[in-house]
């Protein structure tokens, strides 16, 4: 039998540094995910050199560390908790407070979408802000307000007039340091009209299985699909679901299953027969379906409000 590891409490066998954020000066805030770590012992390591060490007895899931004297650049935060056997994943972060790092240049793209310009950018590294500017004449640049600090990519939408005339550029700021301006980009519709290719179209043959009281068939003349079984049975009317959605008109009315056009794929049809005196439309069924389960003693007295429930499963080539 394997030797059980001591239980590490709610923090579990692994715990995590969630985030290390620059607060001010040489102070950084460390956030971690663990519930009962009683003491965190840590080293700040870069290229096998220990730049700083310390310990902290946390009372919450965040605490502050002072990295005075540590130069800018990427470093690892290596943490352990002497009171448990849990393992903390090494966390890589960026020391930035000395202001010696110059941000990298954002990679900018702009796409026209209707009356909007959608601006995308990719960026690596730490940043305090991005500056986006637009111009109409290529000389006079105007700031475009950005109130976000993106980590991966951000999006700006807005109404623009004569969008074809606008060009954009962007730079990143970290502390007092700015990156170079990005290349000037012209928004493009760039609407690719991709040739959407479906490999081996038509290779999947038609197949179908069904329950009684439904029979979805294809009209050989029109290619459209219909139910060959009546949509009424005595006092009951048929209601359909198509791939799980109720088949209803825009105003919520009941629709018959006819004149349907389907592309290749699964088509799943449910057909339920509901008594007309109790369910005369979709809304009544959706609000009061539960009444079919009303019980008197051991008897579901309204069970007969549903006559039958049929299904058909089709694979359309």
């Amino acid at each position: 039998m394997p030797t059980p590891k001591p239980h590490c409490g709610p923090c579990g066998p692994q715990w995590y540094i969630h985030k290390i954020a620059h607060k001010e000066g040489s102070i950084y805030t460390v956030s971690f995910d663990a519930l009962n770590v009683t003491r965190i012992v840590y080293d700040i390591v870069r290229d096998c050199d220990t730049l700083s060490s310390g310990q902290h007895d946390p009372t919450s899931s965040a605490f502050e560390i002072d990295l005075n004297g540590v130069s800018d650049g990427k470093a690892f935060f290596l943490a352990s908790c002497p009171n448990c056997v849990g393992f903390c994943q090494p966390f890589e972060f960026e020391v930035v407070h000395n202001g010696t790092l110059t941000p990298s240049v954002p990679q900018l793209r702009a796409v026209i979408s209707g009356n909007n310009v959608l601006v995308f950018w990719d960026f690596e590294g730490s940043v305090d802000a991005f500056e986006l500017q637009a111009t109409r004449d290529g000389e006079s640049w105007t700031d475009v307000t950005l109130s976000m600090s993106a980590q991966i990519r951000q999006l700006k939408t807005g109404p623009w007039l004569n969008i074809e005339e606008l060009t954009f550029r962007m730079r990143a700021r970290k502390g007092a340091n700015y990156s170079s301006w990005s290349e000037v980009v012209t928004p493009s519709t760039e609407t690719t009209q991709p040739d959407v290719v479906i490999p081996n179209p038509g290779n999947v043959p038609f197949s179908s299985v069904r329950i009684d009281m439904i029979n979805i068939m294809q009209d050989p003349n029109t290619g459209l699909w219909f139910d060959a079984v009546s949509s009424t049975s005595g006092d009951y009317n048929a209601y359909y679901y198509l791939n799980g959605r109720p088949l209803k008109s825009p105003d919520g009315g009941r629709l018959s299953f006819q004149g349907m056009a389907f592309e290749s794929g699964f088509v799943d049809v449910e057909k339920i027969y509901l008594h007309k005196d109790h369910y005369s439309n979709w809304q009544q069924w959706e609000m009061f379906f539960w009444r079919t389960k009303e019980k008197v003693g051991e008897v579901y007295v309204n069970d007969w409000w549903v006559l039958a429930s049929s299904q058909q499963r089709l694979v359309i080539p």
Binding site: R109, S113, L118, V196, N243, F266, V306
Partner: protein
């Protein structure tokens, strides 16, 4: 530019029998694709070669302990009650038959002869002890080191049902929003008081993971079935950095609040035979399209998928068509011929309801397999901006990537906003020189099409008219057909 759209493979059939043995060999997909169903004439090896990862032969010495799955019954606890000795005995018995890589859940609160009370919180007390002992038995250091997923009861596993809080649908209810905003918010339930989720507060989460439940029946309004499940996977990772979850479904549709998916309302599956056909009442089934979603999104956004059927030994041969004492009587409809003879009740048996739902799920797994090199090389699957019928729908501000195991992106709750607006969902991943684009709108009918353009990486891809309630997966490879 050329974009490849994934489509159904040539081997798939809407059928009573599974055709998984006709699927291409794909090997290990790298995700859980547990098939809780047994076949007499399709070997487990054939299933494993085609992407399934686990089979429900937990007590079978001939099956690899890594490749077993099961949803345990309360019978594993000997006798009556759940003393520490009984819990240890159960865990030792189960542990002797599996490894930590087995995919195991339970139905301790409702199935078997020794159920654990759930209404008084006993399940979490007993369950924690059981899974802790089970981890010990299989040499696992904790939940993250296993494929254990505990109880399959939706009310335990999921935060809420279909974005409902206090009976009202509101995907942007503060309880739900908070569940993606912080670990503390994610460790609660979407009940009246936003109470602490006992799965976490009991410490059970350290010893077992939790399913994302996706059972389906047309029980009232189910339009949020998929997006609620995607939210639920996100919630699981928000709650615990190293959480695992798999999307769990069944080929059976079982109504709880109305009788439409009950045996006695089934007028009979049509089984054509020589000279006529049988009408055979049995389980209704979950739409195959939905099974496809479970397979694809389970692998794309979580650790995989679990398809629970039963351990009935099914046969592909009509010669094994049998009487069945568990289902209503069947009816022979003659078209000139006499009813064929049936074998007495027993196994192996020819299936009475369509089993192809499991095939549909594995198609979704295969779709994931065909694009996983993109996601594996990417920084993560992200929400994408799209334009549908002229309206632009953008992700919520901030890092657009979804939560996943080991990556928590608090505040990224685009799934809630598209659900609230009942709009489609566009996802993207960029890696290995390719782009993955996904679009789905479960709020529209299959016959309602939207003109969809996805904006990705500064390019815009006009994908044409896309049908509702249908999964659309595209693969872009720098203008070349892959």
């Amino acid at each position: 530019m050329i974009v490849e759209k994934l489509n159904l493979p040539s081997w798939i059939r809407a059928d009573y029998i599974s055709h998984i043995d006709e699927a291409p060999v794909v090997g290990n997909v790298g995700k859980i694709a547990a098939l809780h169903s047994v076949d007499a004439d399709i070997t487990d090896a054939q299933k494993f070669e085609r992407g399934f990862s686990h089979v429900p032969k937990i007590w079978d010495n001939g099956t690899s302990a890594d490749k077993k799955c099961f949803v345990l019954l309360s019978d594993v606890f000997p006798g009556t009650g759940h003393s520490d000795a009984q819990i240890d005995a159960a865990a030792q018995n189960v542990g002797a038959n599996i490894s930590k890589n087995a995919c195991v859940g339970d139905q301790f609160t409702e199935a078997g002869n020794n159920p654990i009370p759930w209404w008084d919180g006993s399940y979490f007390t007993v369950g924690k002890k059981f899974y802790q002992k089970l981890c010990e038995e299989v040499g696992a250091s904790g939940a993250a080191d296993t494929n254990f997923f505990c109880n399959y009861d939706t009310k335990f596993a999921n935060f809420c049902e279909f974005f409902h809080i206090n009976g009202e649908r509101n995907p942007l209810h503060p309880y739900i929003v908070n569940a993606l905003a912080s670990e503390a918010g994610a460790r609660k339930k979407g009940d009246e008081t936003n109470s602490n989720d006992p799965y976490y507060s009991s410490g059970m989460a350290e010893w077992t993971n939790m399913f994302t439940m996706m059972l389906w029946a047309n029980d009232g309004e189910t339009k949020d079935w998929l997006f609620n499940a995607i939210f639920e996977t996100q919630r699981k990772y928000a709650a615990k950095a190293d959480a695992k979850t798999v999307m769990y479904t069944s080929p059976w549709a079982q109504s709880l609040n109305n009788p439409v998916n009950e045996h006695h309302k089934n007028p009979g599956h049509i089984h054509p035979r020589e000279g006529g056909y049988w009408k055979v009442p049995d389980w209704h089934t979950v739409p195959f399209e939905f099974q496809l979603w479970v397979g694809f999104f389970g692998c794309l956004l979580a650790e995989g998928c679990y398809n629970w059927d039963s351990t009935v030994n099914f046969s592909k041969s009509i010669a094994n068509d049998r009487e069945n004492e568990w289902t209503p009587d069947r009816t022979w409809v003659s078209e000139g011929g006499a009813a064929p003879a049936l074998l007495p009740d027993g196994e192996p048996r020819y299936p009475q309801f369509p089993r192809a739902g499991m095939d549909a799920m594995i198609v979704g797994v295969h779709w994931y397999n065909s694009i996983k090199h993109i996601t594996n090389a990417s920084t993560g699957v992200a929400y994408a901006t799209y334009i549908a019928d002229g309206e632009t729908v953008a992700p919520q501000a901030g890092d657009p990537r979804l939560f996943r195991r080991g990556f928590r992106n608090y505040g990224q709750d685009t799934i809630l906003h598209v659900a609230a607006a009942q709009k489609g969902l566009a996802l993207e991943a960029i890696g290995a020189g390719e782009t993955l684009l996904v679009y789905i709108n479960p709020y529209r009918l299959l016959t309602e099409k939207e003109n969809v353009t996805i904006l990705s990486n500064g390019k815009s891809y006009d994908l044409g008219k896309l049908a509702g309630s249908k999964l659309h997966v595209f693969r872009v490879k720098n203008g070349a057909i892959q």
